[in-house]
Subunit: 254 residues, 8 copies
Amino acid sequence: MERDALKEMLGQVRRGKMTVKAALEKMKHWPVENLPFAAIDHHRGLRQGSPEVIFCPGKETGQIVEIVDRMVEAGENVLATRADREVYNALREKFPEAAYNAAARVLTVVRKKVRTTRGSVLVMTAGTSDIPVAEEAVETLRIFGSRVMKAYDAGVAGLHRLLQHQGKLRRARVLVVVAGMDGVLPSVVGGLTDRPLVAVPTSVGYGAGQGGIAPLLTMLNSCASGIGVVNIDNGFGAAVLAHRINLLGEKRKR
Amino acid sequence: MERDALKEMLGQVRRGKMTVKAALEKMKHWPVENLPFAAIDHHRGLRQGSPEVIFCPGKETGQIVEIVDRMVEAGENVLATRADREVYNALREKFPEAAYNAAARVLTVVRKKVRTTRGSVLVMTAGTSDIPVAEEAVETLRIFGSRVMKAYDAGVAGLHRLLQHQGKLRRARVLVVVAGMDGVLPSVVGGLTDRPLVAVPTSVGYGAGQGGIAPLLTMLNSCASGIGVVNIDNGFGAAVLAHRINLLGEKRKR
Amino acid sequence: MERDALKEMLGQVRRGKMTVKAALEKMKHWPVENLPFAAIDHHRGLRQGSPEVIFCPGKETGQIVEIVDRMVEAGENVLATRADREVYNALREKFPEAAYNAAARVLTVVRKKVRTTRGSVLVMTAGTSDIPVAEEAVETLRIFGSRVMKAYDAGVAGLHRLLQHQGKLRRARVLVVVAGMDGVLPSVVGGLTDRPLVAVPTSVGYGAGQGGIAPLLTMLNSCASGIGVVNIDNGFGAAVLAHRINLLGEKRKR
Amino acid sequence: MERDALKEMLGQVRRGKMTVKAALEKMKHWPVENLPFAAIDHHRGLRQGSPEVIFCPGKETGQIVEIVDRMVEAGENVLATRADREVYNALREKFPEAAYNAAARVLTVVRKKVRTTRGSVLVMTAGTSDIPVAEEAVETLRIFGSRVMKAYDAGVAGLHRLLQHQGKLRRARVLVVVAGMDGVLPSVVGGLTDRPLVAVPTSVGYGAGQGGIAPLLTMLNSCASGIGVVNIDNGFGAAVLAHRINLLGEKRKR
Amino acid sequence: MERDALKEMLGQVRRGKMTVKAALEKMKHWPVENLPFAAIDHHRGLRQGSPEVIFCPGKETGQIVEIVDRMVEAGENVLATRADREVYNALREKFPEAAYNAAARVLTVVRKKVRTTRGSVLVMTAGTSDIPVAEEAVETLRIFGSRVMKAYDAGVAGLHRLLQHQGKLRRARVLVVVAGMDGVLPSVVGGLTDRPLVAVPTSVGYGAGQGGIAPLLTMLNSCASGIGVVNIDNGFGAAVLAHRINLLGEKRKR
Amino acid sequence: MERDALKEMLGQVRRGKMTVKAALEKMKHWPVENLPFAAIDHHRGLRQGSPEVIFCPGKETGQIVEIVDRMVEAGENVLATRADREVYNALREKFPEAAYNAAARVLTVVRKKVRTTRGSVLVMTAGTSDIPVAEEAVETLRIFGSRVMKAYDAGVAGLHRLLQHQGKLRRARVLVVVAGMDGVLPSVVGGLTDRPLVAVPTSVGYGAGQGGIAPLLTMLNSCASGIGVVNIDNGFGAAVLAHRINLLGEKRKR
Amino acid sequence: MERDALKEMLGQVRRGKMTVKAALEKMKHWPVENLPFAAIDHHRGLRQGSPEVIFCPGKETGQIVEIVDRMVEAGENVLATRADREVYNALREKFPEAAYNAAARVLTVVRKKVRTTRGSVLVMTAGTSDIPVAEEAVETLRIFGSRVMKAYDAGVAGLHRLLQHQGKLRRARVLVVVAGMDGVLPSVVGGLTDRPLVAVPTSVGYGAGQGGIAPLLTMLNSCASGIGVVNIDNGFGAAVLAHRINLLGEKRKR
Amino acid sequence: MERDALKEMLGQVRRGKMTVKAALEKMKHWPVENLPFAAIDHHRGLRQGSPEVIFCPGKETGQIVEIVDRMVEAGENVLATRADREVYNALREKFPEAAYNAAARVLTVVRKKVRTTRGSVLVMTAGTSDIPVAEEAVETLRIFGSRVMKAYDAGVAGLHRLLQHQGKLRRARVLVVVAGMDGVLPSVVGGLTDRPLVAVPTSVGYGAGQGGIAPLLTMLNSCASGIGVVNIDNGFGAAVLAHRINLLGEKRKR
């Protein structure tokens, strides 16, 4: 709509109904928000294909269903994180293609085919209890379009468990390493690769440093370089970062 | 300069050298930063008379002198906080009107008369060790133009010490209350007034909660309402907030 | 009653039954609490019109109903914060004018017309999850008599979302900015305004710095000046401070 | 039983069956725990009249009933802290004199008359939410034998609320001051008295410093001297300390 | 001076120049601080003999000397804590009776004979590094008038080191127990006595919980009851509390 | 399978189909994970007899039953820690020899006789509430094969309670000392023994340092040497360490 | 040397002196560390061109010079971080090409031409005090071979300061955003870009959350996605991660 | 001396001068500290050969020299930890056999031959900056009599650096693993061994978790079992524990 106001003014200038000085003066007082802000958001155009994302906590089931409804109507794929099964039950009647990853508590509605990268992101976990966070990352990566490899329960306690994944380590373009307890895995993996590595501490553990503080600190202080850390249990954030990195390795045609 | 580019384009539209559509298109790709941003900064005009402020830590004496030099030349009053005496010594040869408040570690160069409010800000401290932080607030308030009253060492240990300042408490428009150790003073003063109160925890103290954490928490948890807290030792920030509040009580003529 | 004792003594002095010296001596030993304390509370008179406030946690429904009862009988408007719906259900039979803001968990009983300020307080939130805290502030501001504007979900992630509220930013006399997660909004808003700004961290978020510590620290360390911070989730406290500031801008007639 | 072994050996020495040297040698190797330890516990004798105390958390109702049973049989008065009503229900059938203070969650069985001190302990609270902790102290003091005065909801927000208790402040021999939120009360009271003061932080409050850390730090950093602090919500511990202090002021006859 | 105003008013009432009602009205508006506050400070009279106390950090040597000067002239004994030797050097020329305890960093000027209690305070330390804090307590106790016993380096590592002080433990009326590192001593001593015990954590130690947090937490969580804790390194505060407790055990004549 | 590839290559070398140099070259590029990793795990062979261990939290009952099933079939004894009774109920139908220690929440299935050490581990607790953690250690020690002695509720508050266990202290080869609240017991026991001591803080306690931080810090800062600390409530970890130490004292035959 | 043992064995197999089975058996027991570990480090070959890196703290000048010496001789470029000028002075005599970035405290010796990427990394800072950390990143990026753009002092307090860098924001392939105080910049920049963003908190600031904790928490809790965080002041680590990401966008020829 | 009193009493019993009952009564009141406490310290006799240990911080050079003097005279070997070179300089004139390990800041005076164990303790460090702490452990182990192996700079960043020490890992009886930064090494080593492992966090590192908190938490939360943790930088404590464990593996003859 602002575009119309601007067009109108330019028309007046063109038609000599408004002097250049007056137009300049008017624009000076034109609040920024009314100017066509395409420039700021221009890159958003490149993101076409990205899903719309809903962070569910603090929203009621009814609200979420409504939001999904509007998004799907707008032709978007939808990703809802930290969603309870109740939300899924409410959705699947209306959207039979809705899928629910119970471990990850992630809900997706995919109607538009997702174009997948050739390079892949390797998602690793130290233990089995870290898998829900890893699965949140996996679901996010997939709906954004990154190819995914998994290496779960690769923990350090038995080094051979880790080393058997060395092939995947070499083939991956980006790594997402998820670990709770002592959070040691990214440090060890970081010593075996020169790929960008996104480390995700989880709230798995107990006692001192519980709630994920221990693995968070371990990762921030890692002796291995090239590690970027996200917040505790933030599989989604790790996936977005990994996907953006992964995209850089794709050829132009994408 | 961007103004010129815009003027030029508008002139072309006016002279029929550019269609409205082309102008619109061009503006769509015009990066935001090149548009005249007066709107965002419009209110800055109201702040005429505000001094320029330099936060000294991490800057070398030479750099500070140079910055002050440029500011004074631009006709501004200058306030430098957390300044060492060495900076003052370097400055006063060039600017004989430079003044240094050693306790507050505040340096001022005032060439343009500061217009003072009729309402006043009362700056209180619990103990004598809190005075440096209070003085930073006082110097800031004065160069911004707020009238200042002081009530130092009004601590709670002897209640009568506080109660003897009750007259000032009633006359002040805004209060800045500075306290270290247990940080109790704002809670008690807050029970005696209905004026806005800015609380400043100081790093005075030792042992548990040292470095100002104890008084900070006390102030955030105050049973008295109407208290806004700033960072530990942040006399400057408290003063800016108190001054902005104080200005609201002034008549329009200011 | 103490008034009577004092009156009696003064009468004795007047009637010559007691010497001035004896009266002085007697008053010297008269415990402070027995003296008429009007002076301390004198300013309370100015606050006429303020509602009585009940902080519900730790009080039983029956107790709250009783307190409200007494207050309403005394002719006061009542504001109860952090109230469960159960309290509302218990109250509305007796007080049909009782109103309940479920999001804010605020309960109000307004029988006496509230006189509203001309200047207004702008209450902003970064996200939708911060709205309950903002609504506590809004309800408090309204019953205290401050005009309110709202700008919810103005978060920084998309800058244009914030900039579209620039008109309100210019019109407001005081700002209350509510944010969880990274708590970035007050810093950004603080760079766009020269009004007093009350920042409210919320407990929205997870992982490191959860429970509101992260946004609290962000706000205390804000690069923007003129920000006063209140405790996490303390919408009520922010509103009281904002209202006191707002009052300063009103003309005398109020 | 050890007593018997010792008696036996001494008898042998007396009867000439064992030399002094052999007895000395034997005792040298006698493990400490087998020696009559009366000396260590000698002062315990002075405590006759003290109740037996049970800290209930982590014990099942059945266990508690059994312990109480044994104690009552031994002729002792019983004090059980942090007891659920369920425990009380289980007990009162057997011990009709069992009493339960629901706010304090304290359960007492008093069969032996408690001798009460002439001096008294004043138990104060800042707010109404601090009363449960205060009541734990009161119940403890009473069963230990200290006379108790109360001054609840004496908080600092309105100074007159505190000052009206000044008479009690002067009459008390020891003070127990209970406060959550900002924990300011002991600092203010400490400025009005020269009696020993035991400060009890409570977990009342929210946001930064929640769980009682804020008032704990306030009390440890108090500008007033002569304050001893106990753990958060530890009304029992405060009472034991206050009682021991109170006893010192009693005449010898006790 | 206020006394004069009050006297004048009473005189007017007596002379019939002012009605009782007018006097009452006038007093109602009389600010509290102008009333004779003897009542609040009445108990201060009992403290005659207490020294004046100076907390030196943050004060310049010149200032301290001046304060001491005024105090000595007023006939008071003086106690200065955390005083550097430089202060002592500056003082002793003027006051030859000035004494300096270098370990405790305590400076005293005693001109008026201190009357000493019959009961005594036992000051214990766990290790030799805790002695400076203990000595601050000892110097404070002595100038306040409490008889002092010492049991230094009584640490728990070798239990016999502690048990050899059992005689003193029985004779003391109050205990001050000073400990850094693990802060275990008060818990163990608390199991051996039924006297009031003031626990002082010290900043002795390193690594996790350094700066005294470890022993502070140990003491607050002590399984032994009857322990009041003061701030880290606060030998002075512990002594004031212990002295107040000790006084309660003295006979009336004192 | 890798074994086959290696065998194949060696066969080619043997048959002269591949030169030694070519084989060397090929192995140089052979990823580590494909080599027979027996060497790394070689010592595992020594551990024959160790049970398989399952940490239950985050695993569903069904999953646990399945894992146990596979382990038992493989002929292993099974230890499941932090197991709910529900798991036990599900298991005992299938495995009648399953045993459940409800306090410790430990579940064991022992089919293969455990060979027991001659030396023993003494497991001590300070209070009764620490027993569940101690029992986790005891169950772990037993199924690993360490002889166990117990000394529960040996807390320091009454020193004689501890000293009566001195015989066990002398007979034990390793000590596991479990304590919550102030965590004092390992420091005191450490002063009475020269055996290796494993200290386990528990989350028993409340207020400051709750969740086990207080005893953890006490133990890390212990004045007694020769103490190794494990995570809060980690009875299992303490037992594994104690068992490994205990094994060192056994003769070779084991 | 291990190579020789392996060669010898293979030779025996080839010469029929050892059966395939025996060779397999022997290798099974061959400790891992004796196998040619090229495979693990194979990817290191890809890193040719990477400099050798020295973290100076805790190393003496002499040691550093010696290490540099060996590296340069081996033909490597050298990067030494957190190096004092003293180290530079000691080095430049021997290596005239040594360069020292005093702000960044980074020392480089570049003898081998560094091949530079076509894509570039944009390094931004919020304030001028964050520049040293940013410069550490810049120096690291350059010697690793990433093209660098800078946008310093782009802080959020004045939004226009940030928006004027929008062109660079669009051209950069990866962003490194450095901020202390409130750490707000990455959140705001993250809302303007869809590039991978590495956030570096700095220890710039004071009071609550000092030492970098405040900006660290802000960044971890950022509402903007796609942000990877490194440790406080870790410009080097951020650069290594950014460089690895940047490399992914380069064409194969590199 | 107490021995004499006891002997005297026994003599009286023997001579019939005192009844058994009277003797029993007398002993009942005999303070514990006066009884022959050999039993408690009996095991100390076993420790013959242990050096005397001095923790230097907080002691003056003169005091330390004096303590060493007395110890050496008593025929003991001496170990002084955290000793400045100044102490060494003062000592070596008097004791030419004094040796100083500058990195470890450990000073030893060995006059009595130390008998060395056959089993050995492996002391590992992650980086070179951790060596001082490791050396404190090494010096302590040697003077207590444990054979020592070293594996320094075995950090995890390059896994091969660790794996090359696998031989030592297999030969050691006990491990002491020292690590700062992320503290990952004990977790990885713990997965490669079944020996008791003592983990020592160091204060090496910066930023979040600095001062050793990060590696401390990592170690406490280690996924590998059988790890005992000591305080940050506590090489001495780790050595004492490791030595006690090591001793258990020695044959009886020692």
